[in-house]
């Protein structure tokens, strides 16, 4: 099962992985080959994933959902395993990887890390199995990069909590069974576990997207949503709650973005060898070879950085600034690779018959979510200079 042309491991980077890590990668690749690749261009074109709940259950039965969490029905793999899985999923489509990231690294992670024992027992096993889908509501219509100024509020009413506000651009929102919602309270920002069947909760779909079309993106409307006292995540207070979840998901993007890049690079490589102009394959022109060589270099460097951060994360030594380095570098490199690949395909580069423009458009979302390029630049700037330049 070598779905990837051997030439794409020119640098021999597979040496960096153990046999079991490669086995995990093979299984994800096989799931994508059977269950996603044949359909995803059509899902993207229609802006709708067929039987998304069935897909979630299959992702769950492989062990992909919350895979690097321990206990509660989660697979308990390493972070490098998780990274490899993100890379393979995103080589199929960033939308499917987003479904998995939000479920595992945002919604499940928040409950696993900050929830009560009852939250964990109730939600995690069904979320790991893909029976229940989760979403993560932080961004608001008027507050994106600066979530600390959020306006969604949770107020006490007797023992109950009552939530009011709006969240925007929420992945999985309209299909979710449970939403982890962050809100202002008298004691700072707190997280809430909100069953989406609760009165006053609705999640209309966001339409007119030209990116991540094979992913559900929604608005969350919280209109006097009354929750029992124990709906609050007890173990964290303040912005560090959502930020530590984002750090988890960003780590997945460090790897995932390279998947979109690899798929585009593979497409461009095959195409350039088959396509003839001026009497020879366009791959035989120096200008094309320069593009291919640059793409490959950036891809390899990105993968080295991903492996390094993965090993640090498994050792428990990775810092948020290091993950910012990875996200910033790899998403930019991946987007550039997709754009260059698109030029190699000429007019076919804009067709959904090839994966390239789909990846390219998807990465525009990935560039923005989980911290924009500017935000990660400021994080690194602050780490280097000690001077915060956010405001």
């Amino acid at each position: 099962m070598t779905a990837v042309p051997p030439a794409l491991d020119l640098a021999g980077l597979d040496d960096l992985f153990t046999a079991d890590e490669l086995a995990i990668r093979d299984s994800v690749r096989e799931l994508c080959r059977r269950r996603i690749d044949p359909y995803v261009a059509d899902w993207f074109e229609r802006g709708e994933v067929d039987d998304i709940r069935g897909l979630a259950r299959e992702l769950g039965s492989l062990g992909l959902l919350g895979m690097h969490l321990q206990g509660y029905g989660c697979a308990g793999t390493s972070c490098v395993d998780y990274g490899l899985a993100c890379l393979e999923l995103e080589a199929s489509d960033s939308g499917v990887r987003s479904l998995v990231s939000v479920q595992g690294s945002l919604a499940m992670y928040a409950i696993w890390r900050f929830g009560s024992e009852e939250h964990k027992q109730h939600w995690l096993p069904q979320m790991a199995a893909g029976e229940a889908i989760g979403c993560f509501g932080l961004t608001e219509p008027d507050h994106g990069s600066d979530p600390g100024s959020m306006r969604t509020r949770a107020r006490r009413d007797g023992a109950d909590w009552v939530l009011t506000g709006r969240k925007m651009w929420i992945t999985n929102g309209s299909i979710a069974d449970v939403a982890v919602v962050w809100a202002q309270t008298d004691e700072g920002i707190r997280g809430f576990v909100v069953p989406t069947s609760t009165d006053g909760f609705s999640a209309p779909l966001i339409k007119h997207k030209l990116s991540l079309r094979a992913s559900v993106t929604s608005e969350l409307v919280l209109d006097e949503v009354r929750l029992p006292a124990d709906a609050m995540l007890p173990e964290v207070r303040g912005l560090k709650g959502p930020l530590s979840c984002l750090s988890e998901a960003r780590y997945g993007i460090v790897w995932g973005s390279l998947g979109a890049a690899r798929s585009s690079l593979a497409s461009a490589l095959t195409y350039s060898i088959e396509r003839e102009q001026f009497g020879k394959p366009i791959a035989g022109f120096q200008l094309t070879q320069q593009k291919l060589a640059e793409m490959y270099l950036e891809y390899s460097k990105g993968l080295l950085l991903a492996v390094h951060l993965g090993r640090r994360k498994d050792a428990g030594t990775v810092t948020p600034e290091q993950i910012s380095l990875g996200k910033l570098n790899n998403i930019r490199a991946a987007l550039e690779i997709c754009r260059t690949a698109r030029t190699i395909l000429g007019a076919n580069g804009i067709s959904l018959e090839f994966p390239v423009i789909r990846h390219m458009n998807n990465l525009e979302s990935v560039l923005t979510y989980e911290g924009t390029v500017e935000m990660h630049t400021l994080v690194i700037g602050q780490a280097l200079t000690g001077l915060p330049a956010f405001r």
Binding site: T2, D20, I24, L31, L62, G63
Partner: protein, 260 residues
């Protein structure tokens, strides 16, 4: 129900496969190998039967050190334990010796209710080992199953031929070889991959099986590869222009190649 599945470690068909120049055996060292795809169907079928009731699935392979990977893949898919038969003297064995070793190993594992194999290996593609093995074990040989049901003390299979499908029944214990039509093999789940690390695998030598070195390997082989020739380069395709007679031209072409 105790099931033994015989699996083979073969060179990856996607890679550049070749023969060892010294003795014209399949080159297994320089090429990446894997569990023969046709054997995945056998593993899957065994797992389905075991999961439907009580049962244990043991996989057996013969091959060099790297062949342990084939056993490992089957364990990751869900088999319970593995046996790896490995001995320098086995190199160059033919189907006759292979079936002898498998028979000895299966006897040592303990009389299973069912032995399942693939229909052929993807490298040698001879497809004779299942029949030889059944003969050696004294079991009914129920080959080329594209459907298999186990009920009570018997098995029923469907064997699809060119013109008709046969239904064949046999009493257990039996040996069944399965085709690539029988199921869709699973890929290992993450839990399967992690659980496989703790599953028992035994490595047996010729001495463990009580087999004489002279009975196997090139020395004991009944067949010998005399020469190998590289496959000729692919010829240019032939374009048939339909001038009203496209159908008959196509039929003539197929007939000339003995396809019809």
């Amino acid at each position: 129900m105790n099931i033994v599945v015989c699996v083979k470690y073969v060179p990856d068909a996607q890679a550049d496969r070749g023969f060892d120049e010294s003795d014209l055996t399949t080159n297994r060292e320089s090429v990446d190998g894997l569990l023969s795809e046709l054997d995945e169907y056998a593993v899957e079928e065994a797992l389905k039967i075991a999961e439907a009731g009580e049962g244990e699935v043991t996989v057996v392979t013969i091959g060099p050190d790297k062949a342990a990977d084939a056993v490992k893949k089957a364990l990751q898919m869900g088999a319970d334990k593995g046996v790896h038969i490995s001995d320098e003297a086995i190199r160059g064995s033919d189907a006759f010796a292979t079936s002898l070793l498998l028979a000895k190993a299966i006897e040592k594992i303990g009389a299973p209710d069912l032995v399942i194999t693939g229909m052929a290996s993807t490298d040698g593609t001879m497809g004779v080992v299942p029949a030889m093995l059944a003969e050696r074990l004294g079991l009914p040989q129920v080959t080329f199953a594209s459907e298999l049901t186990v009920d009570g003390d018997g098995v029923t299979i469907r064997r699809d031929g060119d013109t008709a499908s046969e239904t064949i029944i046999a009493k257990l214990p039996a040996l069944v070889s399965v085709t690539d039509q029988i199921n869709e093999p699973r890929y290992p789940s993450f839990k399967g991959i992690m659980a496989a690390k703790k599953k028992p695998v035994e490595t047996w030598s010729l001495a463990d099986l009580g087999v004489d070195a002279g009975a196997v390997g090139a020395a004991g082989a009944y067949t010998k590869v005399l020469s190998v020739t590289k496959r000729p380069p692919r010829e240019q395709g032939q374009i048939v222009t339909d001038e009203g007679d496209g159908g008959s031209k196509l039929a003539d072409f197929l007939a000339s190649r003995k396809f019809i």
